[in-house]
Point group: C2
């Protein structure tokens, strides 16, 4: 949500000279990304996003993210392509930061998705899952069940400050997902954070899937559960909109039909998705990082999603 | 330096429908402006800057700023033109804020101006002064001598926390400008804040003069003194670079020659310019506004400029 590192125009012009991409015409720091600084850069021939990776990202993960974006762009998905310089290098250094020049994609992030937009976004996620099967790398999901348990333990006693009874809701939900997490569903490359602000749309059509910095290897149906948590629930998180939920399921299955086992696991995976975002937001809430520029997001909408899933699963 | 107000894409698309300016293709919040939220908006036919005015700006001043930008654009200056909607209105309301859709101009802000860039910037300022003579409105400079004295009084005793001896340097400088401020120099519309980040350049050529939200009626030579404070001194503020200073004076005078009285007044006006930015930064330093997003800028580089002027004027 901020530009952490300023890049003097003179340095940016020199940086762009590494590429066959025209000369600098304009550069604006843009308010996107919480773990990096982003600039919308215009040259005499094209537009790009320039990303500088800040300390919240693990630098050894960057080749995975960048290779994945390139793989998906090669596969024809609307994923911004990392640009290689004349020597073939995509991952660079600029102003003491790891940096990457990335294709600019048109489109806007919708705030109130419609059913046709949900259908398109879910179909795009399914295409991403299929295209990822030919990607030769993998990355552990560090924000999965082990992290949920650790984080809930580290916040013990504080969750009730957010809302009375939240601690036991979280404990019961962790017990549920621990006991019922599916063991043998199809897995592969997942986006793991496909919220509406990470999807660019032109009308009802997806023009861009962005921000792959949580991408990892996990269950496809878990990624769909994250998509449902992000798209089907209203801002307050109370209960999903049936029309949006239907559109997400239909859109996904128009590209990659779900197995009966995947469909049966969705309620537990949905509980997991709610836990994941509740706990990361609660952690930021109570333990704000030294980096005060990171905006704290209210954890409560995900506590409400969790309560909804808990009630659906008979724990309510 | 931040986006204070988010505009949902759906609302932005509806807003753009008031104009003959194409349909929404992309919108990015940009890290520009300290008293407003800015978005780089692309439509199917053009690019624009959308500005939402936040509480640090006096809303009754907006027609002056917007009319002035339009007047200067009409006069052929590289000033972004406020866009009028189909009913002829430029000043709008959006998300509870006053708002204006403004022409997008190419160019980048330089961090280390060269003599040719100083020459171009100063010539553009002189053209602005001349073009402003046909503008029929005026606005008091609220950040002039009266404000300097009040602000210094309100910070009394605290300035030495920034640097030992700063209080007496400021007091002596206020006494000097009070006694020697020129009374009868040419005055008119001035930009009053033409720092390098408010000038867009393509190579050595000025492609944009932006951020008119301090524009007012004052001495032209004072505006030149602000330009010198902003462009001729290094970042630490120690002493001006003679080559940059010469380029600024030559560039300005290539368009509007200075009278002997204006030239003679420049040291006192330079002292005033250093006071103005020292005091506004010191005020933000000690009395940060409720709006914590406003970045505090170090006042000391302007304390050093002030010390340099004081020494030149024999008070050192």
């Amino acid at each position: 949500m901020a530009v952490y590192t300023e890049v003097p125009a003179e340095r940016l012009a020199a940086f762009l000279a590494r590429y066959d991409g025209g000369t600098l015409v304009s550069a604006k720091g843009i308010a996107e990304g919480v773990s990096n600084s982003n600039f919308l850069v215009e040259t005499s021939t094209a537009r790009y996003i320039l990303t500088l990776y800040e300390r919240r990202i693990t630098e050894s993960d960057l080749p995975f993210f960048i290779d994945l974006m390139e793989h998906l762009a090669d596969a024809g998905l609307p994923v911004p392509r990392p640009i290689r310089d004349r020597t073939g290098k995509a991952l660079q250094q600029l102003e003491g930061r790891a940096a990457c020049l990335i294709q600019y994609l048109p489109g806007v992030s919708v705030s109130h998705p419609t059913p046709p937009q949900c259908r398109s976004a879910a179909a795009a996620l399914a295409r991403l899952h299929l295209a990822g099967q030919r990607f030769g790398q993998s990355r552990t999901n560090h924000l999965s069940r082990g992290w949920w348990a650790e984080t809930a333990a580290s916040l013990h006693g504080r969750l009730n400050e957010l809302s009375p009874g939240l601690q036991s809701l979280v404990d019961n939900s962790l017990a549920h997902v621990g006991a019922h997490w599916p063991g043998h569903l199809p897995a592969g490359i997942v986006h793991a954070d496909l919220f509406p602000d990470n999807v660019l749309m032109l009308g009802d059509k997806v023009s861009g899937l962005i921000d792959f910095y949580f991408a990892c290897t996990d269950l496809y149906a878990y990624d769909l559960a994250v998509l449902i948590a992000a798209w089907a629930f209203p801002a307050d998180g109370s209960a999903p909109d049936p029309a949006l939920l239907d559109a997400l399921l239909a859109g996904y299955q128009s590209v990659r039909p779900l197995s009966p086992a995947e469909l049966a696991a969705l309620p537990t995976l949905g509980m997991g998705a709610a836990l994941r975002f509740l706990l990361s937001r609660a952690q930021d809430w109570f333990q704000p990082s030294a980096d005060a520029l990171v905006l704290r997001k209210d954890p409560m909408p995900f506590a409400r999603r969790l309560a909804w899933h808990s009630a659906q699963l008979g724990h309510g």
